[in-house]
């Protein structure tokens, strides 16, 4: 009896600790949204809700757990990063999603941006080129039950022609130019947000929009720094 009581108490303690930890992360997440995202002008309620909902700390490396909700990008290995929370929110807001869209993401990385998109769109297709990152993000997103997200290991440059066209495309790694296949796979009236420029330099976050005639125009939104887009 004593043993059962001791085990129960230990489990209870462990459970309480886990809950307390989760509560701490939840508080940090809400603070992150208020201080870093809303304060900088992101207003879309769906985006803000997604940023409050997705547990960013699960997408960072264990040694960076303490900085999971800080106002900075973090390394995730293989020369890649998980973007600064504000940039994730801003890029999602720029796409002006209503919840009914089919979205293509190039560069799954940690899977964090895909998880945020899944909370704001109907379907998310995401491509990752680094095999190790593809595997780890797939495992994590499966564990979190993100059924809306379809992942593929491959070269994001060519997009996902089998699933095209897309209402929105989000590229989360810097490219030297806007890949023509991605323009092809963007629906008329669709939007693509992409950081363009050299990886060693400051890049531009560019919004590309396809008008009714199929002509694409771009608008420079802000200066950013992303890791490079890698090709298969």
């Amino acid at each position: 009896m004593k043993t059962i009581t001791a085990i129960s108490l230990a489990l209870l303690l462990l459970f309480s600790l886990v809950l307390a930890g989760e509560e701490e992360y939840r508080a940090a997440r809400f603070k992150m949204v208020a201080d870093q995202i809303e304060a900088r002008g992101v207003k879309d309620p769906a985006v803000l809700a997604a940023m409050r909902q997705v547990p960013r700390h699960l997408f960072v490396l264990e040694e960076d757990l303490k900085m999971a909700y800080s106002d900075q990008p973090l390394p995730i290995g293989y020369g890649q990063t998980i973007s600064q929370p504000y940039i994730v929110a801003y890029m999602t807001e720029v796409l002006a999603l209503t919840g009914q869209e089919k979205v293509l993401e190039i560069g799954t990385g940690s899977g964090y941006q895909a998880a945020v998109l899944a909370a704001t769109a109907k379907e998310v297709y995401s491509i990752e080129i680094v095999p190790q990152l593809y595997q780890s993000s797939r495992d994590l997103l499966d564990r979190l039950g993100c059924e809306k997200i379809k992942l593929k290991l491959g070269d994001g440059y060519f997009g996902w022609p089998e699933q095209a066209p897309f209402d929105a495309i989000i590229v989360t790694c810097a490219a030297g130019h806007i890949p023509p296949p991605l323009i092809e796979q963007l629906k008329v009236g669709g939007k693509m947000v992409i950081p363009v420029g050299r990886p060693w330099s400051v890049q531009s976050l560019v919004l590309a929009e396809k008008d009714d005639q199929g002509q694409v125009r771009t608008r420079s939104l802000m200066a950013v720094r992303f890791v490079p887009l890698m090709r298969e």
């Binding site: 900075q72 990008p73 390394p75 290995g77 293989y78 020369g79 890649q80 600064q84 080129i129 680094v130 095999p131 290991l153 491959g154 070269d155 440059y157 030297g176 130019h177 806007i178 890949p179 023509p180 296949p181 323009i183 092809e184 363009v196 420029g197 050299r198 990886p199 060693w200 330099s201 400051v202 890049q203 531009s204 560019v206 590309a208 002509q215 694409v216 125009r217 771009t218 608008r219 420079s220 802000m222 200066a223 950013v224 720094r225 890791v227 490079p228 890698m230 090709r231 298969e232």
Partner: protein, 769 residues
């Protein structure tokens, strides 16, 4: 014993200089060029610190000179591989300095680790100088050894992989430590001999690795699925690699209207940074369709060139573009011999023997030298200005991008010809505005009005500037308009451009390029330069630093909480240099004053040794920049200048090191402006440069040893302290020289160096020998 000391100081000096030169190259691969240079400049703190520490410790070491000399030399040798491995193990990621506090911790750690070898080697040199009976000879051996080390490093870097090139540094230092084996008795000799054998064995069994930072282009390309290293060539221009797999596509300036597939490409990397693509082409087929959608194509729509010159064609995309436009004669001048060999050798078939097509001639030469010598004129001269942004250093001498050189290029165009300059837009635009201002100044020097002669086209990321001394006719302006409209490019500058024609396809906030063009063409450039956040004034002969964009106003932009504007690599480079300069000043102040607490009576000559240390490095670094400008080849200029300085100064010390230094400092003050003038006016390439530098370096070698003899005397502690003072101020001078050259120019920097020597002379007037 004196002979053994001369032997050891020669080899240890050589070893540590070889280590410094090689490490600069290795860290340029691991990190970035400017960052590597700064890190190693700071590690030279070890030189000053050693003098200060020795000043305090010498009384205790006096009874065991052989043990102290052997331990410092052997310690220096051992610490070379250990410091290298330790620095790599820290895993510093310079890019992360922008956002991560732990990156700053790592930076401090790497810096501390690297101080070790310099501290120990300098301690050895300081001990020899402190105990020697003839400082002039010892100092001469020190300088001659350094020259030999510089040469050894240059040879090793030319023929070995950079990490393997560290071994000569290790070997030279080990040789230095072996000098005392005969005097150390049997046990000492056995111990020392065993240590040498073990080090050699370890170096053989576990070769030093080469590691690239994960955020470098190369690392990212290799991390990709099926990414693989396909070729590699080593040389003084760097480590050139070709990375592929089915992997890589690169097309800057590609129109959004282009939907065709891109052909198979490979990435061409130098020192881990992407410099461009190599495109597969079968000469049986027409050139790939995407070529017709590149911004560079516009130049061929306006000018119908018979002869085109492409400067640094790299992987050949510009050559392919010229061929696609039907150009009959294409000349390429490639300055990187490794790229030239790869493109003409193993990768020739991949490109359809592009460099050997009928009408194509690509030669290996320095572009500035080629342009100065060739009798040919060209209808189009194509020059990219983006390459320097890869290395990112504002301190890079950019000869091809000065007003004087662009003026010379315009003079080599055939009637109706045009100069085409292309590069990245940058965010906020600055390189593109500076190139526009430079071209406008070049036209003014030819008494031509820029308003009718410039056309600037852009997309979201790439800029193309066409400069036509003959002016654009209304028909040609209309051709440019039509081509830009067809390919979705924006016009920022064009004769007769209307406000409603700008910022249509790729919308930039406030279109800064068009606004800058308006001011420049209206003759209001000064207004633009004054109010800009960046340094936009054109680079000139005396300040040839095109990639110098940082001004203190830039910090307003960076630090503004609303802006959140990240820094570009070029601005980071200069910010680091300023940070390093102030750190060096602080460390010098502490390191110099510390021994004064214990040394009684206090040693003399602080201003003298400080001023000549400062003046020497101010002069050497400035004359190095000037020589790079003259020769156009840093890989040749660095060993030439460093070698000439060390050898000539060594001779000066050997011949005149025991004489009172007063007349030599005054001679140095006079010789420096003459050296600068000689570099600008003496003919004869590298030989002429050596002749211009040698007299100044010769007289500058005498004052230090003379100062030791006549100011300090034979007190070992005071000698070591004087060595430390000189070392600290040399470091301050090295960093200060770069900043002075950027801010004021080469002439003021040389005058400042002369002033240091003149002040040292004035100081000596009031001091008794």
């Amino acid at each position: 014993m004196e002979r053994a000391r001369l032997f050891s100081i020669f080899f240890v000096s050589g070893g540590i200089l070889a280590f410094e030169v090689t490490l600069t190259r290795v860290f340029a691969l691991t990190y970035w060029h400017h960052f590597a240079s700064l890190l190693i400049s700071l590690a030279m703190v070890g030189f000053g610190s050693a003098g200060s520490l020795l000043a305090l410790a010498l009384p205790r070491l006096a009874g065991r000179p052989t043990a102290a000399l052997t331990a410092t030399a052997l310690g220096a040798a051992l610490s070379i591989p250990l410091a290298y491995l330790g620095a790599l193990a820290v895993g510093l990621e310079p890019l992360a300095l922008a956002w991560s506090a732990s990156a700053w911790r790592d930076l401090g750690l790497v810096f501390l680790i690297l101080v070790g070898p310099f501290l120990l080697a300098a301690a050895h040199i300081g001990l020899v100088l402190a105990w020697t009976e003839k400082p002039g000879r010892a100092y001469a051996a020190n300088l001659a050894g350094s020259a030999a080390g510089c040469l050894a490093a240059a040879l090793a870097l030319a023929y070995l992989r950079p990490n393997q090139a560290l071994y000569p540094a290790l070997g030279l230092t080990l040789l230095g430590s072996a000098a005392y084996l005969p005097a150390a008795g049997r046990r000492g000799a056995a111990f020392g001999g065993a240590a040498v054998v073990i080090i050699v064995f370890l170096a053989w069994a576990w070769p030093l690795p080469l590691k690239f930072a994960p955020f470098k282009d190369r690392s990212a390309a290799l991390a990709a699925q099926a990414g693989r290293l396909e070729d590699r060539a080593v040389g003084l221009h760097g480590l050139t690699e070709i990375i592929g797999g089915p992997a890589f596509h690169y097309a800057p300036g590609l129109s959004l209207g282009c939907s065709g597939p891109l052909p198979e490409q490979r990435g061409l990397f130098v020192d881990g940074d992407l410099v461009g693509p190599i495109t597969r082409w079968n000469p049986e087929d027409p050139p790939p369709d995407f070529i017709q959608c590149l911004m560079q194509r516009l130049a061929y729509e306006v000018i119908d060139p018979g002869r085109v010159l492409i400067i640094n064609p790299g992987g050949g995309l510009e050559v392919l573009t010229a061929l696609a436009a039907g150009v009959g004669r294409v000349t390429g001048v490639e300055e990187n011999p490794e790229i030239f060999s790869l493109m003409n050798g193993p990768w020739s078939d991949f490109t359809g023997r592009l460099y050997h097509r009928p009408g194509v001639k690509v030669i290996r030469a320095d572009p500035a030298v080629f342009l100065a010598r060739t009798p040919d004129d060209f209808d189009l001269i194509i020059l990219g200005y983006g390459g320097g942004l890869v290395s990112g250093s504002g301190l890079e001498v950019t000869r091809l991008l000065t007003v004087e050189e662009l003026t010379a290029r315009l003079g080599r165009l055939s009637p109706g010809g045009a100069l085409v300059l292309s590069g990245p837009l940058m965010n906020p635009p600055r390189a593109s505005i500076k190139i526009l201002a430079t071209a406008a100044d070049a036209l003014k020097r030819l008494n031509l009005d820029p308003a009718e002669r410039l056309a600037l086209v852009r997309d979201w990321n790439t800029v193309l500037l066409m400069v036509r001394p003959g002016g654009f006719s209304p028909d040609q302006a209309e051709q440019i308009r039509a081509a830009a409209r067809r390919l979705n490019f924006d016009l920022s500058v064009l004769p007769g451009l209307r406000p409603e024609e700008i910022n249509r396809f790729h919308v930039l906030p406030q279109e800064p390029l068009a606004e800058a063009g308006r001011l420049i063409l209206a003759g209001r450039s000064e207004e633009l330069f004054d109010r800009a956040y960046f340094h936009l004034r054109p680079a000139t002969r005396d300040r040839p630093y095109f990639f110098h964009f940082f001004r203190f106003r830039t910090l307003d932009l960076i630090l503004s909480p609303r802006s959140g504007q990240p820094l570009g690599a070029a601005e980071w480079g200069l910010l680091f240099t300023w940070g390093g300069f102030f750190t060096a000043l602080l460390l010098a102040f502490i390191g110099i004053l510390l021994p004064l607490v214990r040394l009684r009576p206090g040693p003399r000559g602080l201003p003298f040794f400080g001023l000549i240390g400062l003046g020497y490095m101010l002069a050497e670094i400035t004359l190095l920049a000037e020589t790079i400008y003259r020769l156009g080849r840093p890989a040749l200029a660095v060993p030439l200048v460093v070698g000439t300085f060390l050898l000539a100064s060594g001779l000066g010390s050997r011949w005149w090191g025991d004489r009172p230094p007063k007349k030599f400092v005054l001679a140095s003050a006079l010789a420096l402006p003459l050296a600068l003038a000689g570099l600008r006016w003496l003919p004869g390439g590298a030989v002429g440069a050596g002749l211009a530098l040698a007299p100044a370096a010769l007289v500058m070698g005498a004052p230090f040893a003379g100062g030791l003899t006549h100011l300090v005397g034979s007190r070992p502690g005071a000698r070591a302290w004087a060595f430390g003072v000189n070392g600290f101020f040399s470091m301050v001078g090295a960093l200060g020289a770069g900043l002075l050259c950027l801010q004021a120019g080469h002439t003021p920097a040389i005058l400042a160096a002369g002033l240091c020597y003149l002040s040292a002379g004035l100081y000596l007037r009031g001091v008794k020998s």
